[in-house]
């Protein structure tokens, strides 16, 4: 098999005002013909730098300081500008992470796609036909019509399909997908994975898939490259890496993935420490500081490449030693975990418990037109309903998970509960007190009881304040005088295990996980009884996700907290929650015990969501076409059951009659005419 791409000893450095960053060191790999190669690693490990080096599109301050990149027979690093222009797009093309920002918003797809073919001497008609064919190949309906539309007229998933169509149209020898599904929902992700798998059959080229999502890599790739701190630590076939990982980093990374842990346990494994910054060239193994098998030699000498088999090699000093000791062998099976954290509160569900929060038939609607605009556009609705008749309850010391695709109204519901947005009917009872009628001072008092954590760990911290100021702020807002504020703040730091030296740092100097800890500390400051956490693990690496979830559950133990966790990440929800509520287009469609829902989903939508999660096991690849289509727009609700256009079990009744919410058993509610269980 000949190689499409051959990278040898690649070294890249970025110049910054504070000195160079050695982003890649001695990176060598080959991409054979007709294979899908995955690159995994935590953020900051140089995955994207590899991609941009291959395209010679590094940022202005980046420089390839050594090594070789060969595409077929040609040397990419010696290309002239003209050759580069011919190489990009024709030979190598990219599918970007965010299709909204990577496609021109002012040009129609027809124009964008014919422009890509500017090098070809073909007639315009032929170019248009080729574009239409490319759109058809990625499964866009009526491509002849849709090609005249603009990116904003497509939904997220369709846009990413169009992005793939553009990248594939010139039949490149190498397609690079840089986190191509990260910005999409699980259901869309499953569809895109399925699409790339199908396209692969008629494709002559190879694919490089860059992702931090182990599930995606396992579902998609033939070969896997594991990167850490600018170096390749392990390379192998997908089965080598997932079933027989040899490098301690690969093992740790796989262990952390909540999707691989089938027992629902509150304790998730983590990798302590963080990716080193690459300002100084370190000697020794870059993973030494976080490795649990580290010995002195690891800190002194750079490990050389060791071959395990023809396809599998790694960089580790202790590999053979550990192999004989038998330490590595056990890790590939299910990791041993402490159990028993989860059921402490589960047992109470049936008994009489105190309902901390009760939401009854809550509605949230947003005004889209004002009275003037409405006068001119009589047909369009003045409001969109983001949440319709939502009812749920949270007991003391219980964790409720709120799950759904984006646009399902999860965040609106949370904001409605927190009184951060207006509500349109319904009740929010907190300790039997209705929050909606509260004003000013009373509401401020309730804010001490219900704390919130927001999606973006760094973005939800005021950027010009130090950590110390941020942590003491809740006390100042509420004029709490408990001895000295400083002591309280130090107490908080201890609770979330944040070093005191961080007090003078600014949010942008924190890593995602550290910023999240500050967020948790701020939420805890006023000793609330309920914390509403919007995507507490979004944007965090798998190794850090576990840390935050472990922290949250141990705080629950010690402080008797209740949580409402909003997430689209089902594996995380599964480990963190006691009960689940699934939302679709503003309705809560299913509610019940977390384990029950995962073992036996009652609503077809729930089933589809669970099935769409990619499994990090290359032997269990399955047909991912479980759910079709996308979430419809809120302004254009389907009649009857909102889910019927995507539902595999839809019948005539579903198309006309909206279903009622009914209780099945054991506090299980489902909003479906024909639930999957009785």
């Amino acid at each position: 098999m000949t190689a499409v791409l051959d990278v040898k000893n690649l070294e890249v450095a970025f110049r910054t005002p504070l000195g160079p960053i050695f982003a890649l060191q001695d990176v060598s790999f080959t991409v054979p013909e007709r294979t899908i190669v995955g690159i995994v690693g935590e953020s900051g490990c140089g995955k994207s730098t590899v991609v941009w080096s291959i395209c010679r599109l590094l940022a202005e301050n980046g420089e390839i300081t050594g090594g070789q990149i060969r595409y077929g027979d040609s040397d990419v690093l010696s290309f002239t500008q003209q050759q580069l222009e011919n190489y990009r797009g024709e030979q190598v093309s990219i599918v970007f992470q965010d299709p909204m920002t990577s496609q021109s918003p002012v040009l129609s797809y027809k124009r964008q796609m014919t422009d890509i073919q500017y090098r070809r001497p073909d007639k315009r008609n032929k170019k248009v036909t080729r574009a239409v064919e490319a759109m058809r190949a990625v499964g866009i309906p009526d491509p002849e019509e849709r090609i005249n539309t603009y990116p904003h007229q497509f939904s997220g998933g369709m846009r990413q399909r169009a992005g793939i169509a553009m990248a594939m149209m010139m039949d490149p020898g190498l397609l690079i997908a840089d986190e191509a599904t990260t910005a999409l929902d699980v259901t869309m992700e499953a569809q895109i994975i399925q699409l790339i798998r199908e396209l692969r059959q008629d494709m002559n080229g190879s694919v490089i898939a860059v992702s931090h999502n182990l599930g995606l890599i396992a579902e998609l790739c033939d070969q896997v490259i594991v990167m850490y701190a600018g170096q390749i630590v392990e390379t192998g076939t997908v089965t080598d890496i997932f079933h027989n990982p040899k490098h301690p980093y690969t093992q740790a990374l796989l262990e952390c993935d909540p999707a691989r842990i089938l027992d629902s346990s509150r304790r998730l494994p983590t990798i302590p420490g963080e990716v080193p910054n690459l300002m100084s060239a370190h000697k020794g193994c870059s993973f030494a500081a976080r490795c649990r098998y580290v010995v002195d030699r690891c800190r002194q000498e750079l490990p050389q490449r060791t071959d395990v088999s023809a396809s599998h090699n790694l960089h580790c000093h202790r590999h053979f030693e550990l192999e004989t000791l038998g330490v590595l062998a056990q890790s590939s099976s299910e990791p041993a975990l402490k159990k028993g954290y989860k059921n402490s509160s589960l047992s109470k569900v049936n008994g009489e418990t105190n309902k901390l929060l009760e939401v009854k038939n809550l509605n949230v609607r947003y005004q889209v037109l004002d009275l003037m605009q409405k006068a001119f556009r009589r047909d369009s609705p003045m409001f969109v309903d983001a949440v319709i008749q939502a009812s749920l309850s949270i007991n003391q010391e219980e964790t409720l998970g709120l799950v759904g695709e984006s646009g399902s109204g999860k965040t609106s519901l949370a904001r409605g509960i927190l009184q951060l947005t207006g509500t349109a009917g319904g009740e929010v009872l907190f300790n039997q007190q209705d929050l909606i009628s509260l004003k000013g001072h009373q509401l401020k008092h309730i804010r001490r009881e219900i704390a919130a954590m927001f999606q973006d760990p760094v973005g939800s911290l005021s950027p010009r304040k130090t950590v110390g100021a941020l942590l003491s702020e809740p006390f100042k807002i509420h004029g709490v005088k408990l001895g000295s504020v400083e002591e309280e703040v130090q107490e908080l730091c201890k609770m979330v295990s944040l070093p005191l030296s961080f007090m003078t740092r600014y949010p942008h100097e924190l890593s995602g996980g550290q910023a999240r800890r500050v967020g948790v500390a701020r939420a805890l400051a006023l000793k609330p009884s309920l914390i509403i956490a919007d995507e507490p693990t979004a944007g965090l690496d798998v190794s850090v996700q576990g840390e935050i979830l472990n922290l949250m559950s141990s705080l629950q133990e010690s402080h008797g907290l209740s949580y409402m966790i909003i997430s689209h990440n089902l594996p995380v929800v599964r480990h963190a929650c006691d009960r689940l509520a699934i939302m679709y287009l503003g309705h809560i469609v299913e509610q019940g015990n977390c384990d029950d829902i995962f073992t036996e989903p009652a609503h077809p939508y729930t089933q589809a969501l669970i099935n769409a999660v990619p499994r990090p096991d290359p032997d269990k690849r399955r047909d991912l076409t479980a759910i079709r289509g996308e979430v419809p727009s809120l302004t254009n609700r389907p009649p009857g059951c909102e889910f019927h256009p995507r539902c595999a079990f839809a019948q005539d009744l579903c198309r006309t009659e909206p279903p009622e919410n009914h209780e099945l058993n054991n506090q299980r509610f489902v909003r479906c005419h024909f639930p999957l269980i009785q």
Partner: protein, 281 residues
């Protein structure tokens, strides 16, 4: 790493910015220490030596009354500094507060304030100054008032736009969920994020303000004679330009240097603090 030290390092490497800073410092020093630096009393007449060119005694010559132009330029800098410092800071403060209120407050208040900004903006500065001075008579105070009123909308608009961009940011919602009221949110969290670009704009506005004062004084609408100001030096020099070019040259050069100094400084600050405009280095 302290972010301020990093910024300082970046600034130190910016040659144009350092040049601007030096000019600005000279401007401040010469104005503040004018009584010590001036070789002559700026009001003292020396009729026999009138309209002289540069001599050992008079560095840049004398005007038509025989007063030392160099000393008058130094003292004129005090007027310019007063106008620039007070005018710019007061209008910055008012504009900032009004702009933040417009950006964060309810829709109707935003509309009302915008209407006010746009109304003020629609008057040409000089025409408004002519009208006001015609009613009240010329004085330094009046120049100041005109400068302040005409500069408020610029700052207000910028502060409003930046506030609008921030008001729905996650960290603002996070503060609200903790129970923070509008005053705390505005003063504690929006202000520090909005003030940076405004200060840069203010630095670049200083020369504009100085030239407004010079322009009004040139037209006889600003400071009253015999108080020296760069505009009045230019004006008086203009009348005797056929006899000697020196007063015009001497009055013009500090104006040019101050403008350059503040513009370079402002641009350098903008490059340092607004990374989006920064080029790869």
């Amino acid at each position: 790493m302290n972010p301020w030290r990093e910024k300082l390092q970046l600034f130190m490497r910016n040659g144009k910015g350092m040049f601007g800073l030096v000019l600005v410092l000279i401007f401040f020093a010469s104005a503040l220490f004018a009584p010590q630096l001036a070789p002559h009393d700026p009001f003292q007449l020396n009729i026999p030596a009138r309209n002289s060119g540069p001599t050992i005694d008079y560095f840049v010559g004398t005007d038509q009354l025989g007063r030392d132009t160099f000393s008058r330029v130094l003292y004129g800098g005090r007027v310019a500094l007063k106008i620039a410092a007070i005018g710019v800071s007061v209008s910055l403060l008012i504009g900032l507060v009004l702009g933040m209120i417009a950006g964060y407050g309810p829709r109707w208040l935003d509309n009302a304030l915008l209407l006010f900004f746009d109304t003020v903006r629609s008057f040409p500065t000089i025409v408004m100054a002519l009208a006001v001075v015609a009613l009240t008579g010329p004085s330094l105070g009046m120049v100041m008032v005109i400068v302040i009123i005409t500069s408020i909308p610029g700052y207000g608009r910028l502060a409003r736009t930046s506030t609008l961009a921030l008001r729905n940011a996650d960290f603002i919602t996070a503060e609200q969920s903790l129970g923070a009221g509008p005053v705390r949110v505005l003063a504690g969290h929006i202000l520090p994020n909005v003030i940076g670009p405004l200060l840069i704009l203010a630095a670049m506005d200083v020369p504009v303000v100085v030239t407004i004062e010079a322009g009004l004084s040139f037209l006889g609408l600003g400071v009253l004679p015999p108080t020296p100001s760069w505009g009045s030096i230019l004006n008086e020099g203009y009348m005797v330009i056929r006899d000697t070019p020196w007063p015009v040259v001497a009055g013009g050069i500090p104006l040019v240097l101050t403008t350059l100094g503040f513009t370079f400084l402002g641009e350098a600050l903008r490059d340092v603090f607004d990374p989006r405009l920064r080029k790869g280095y």
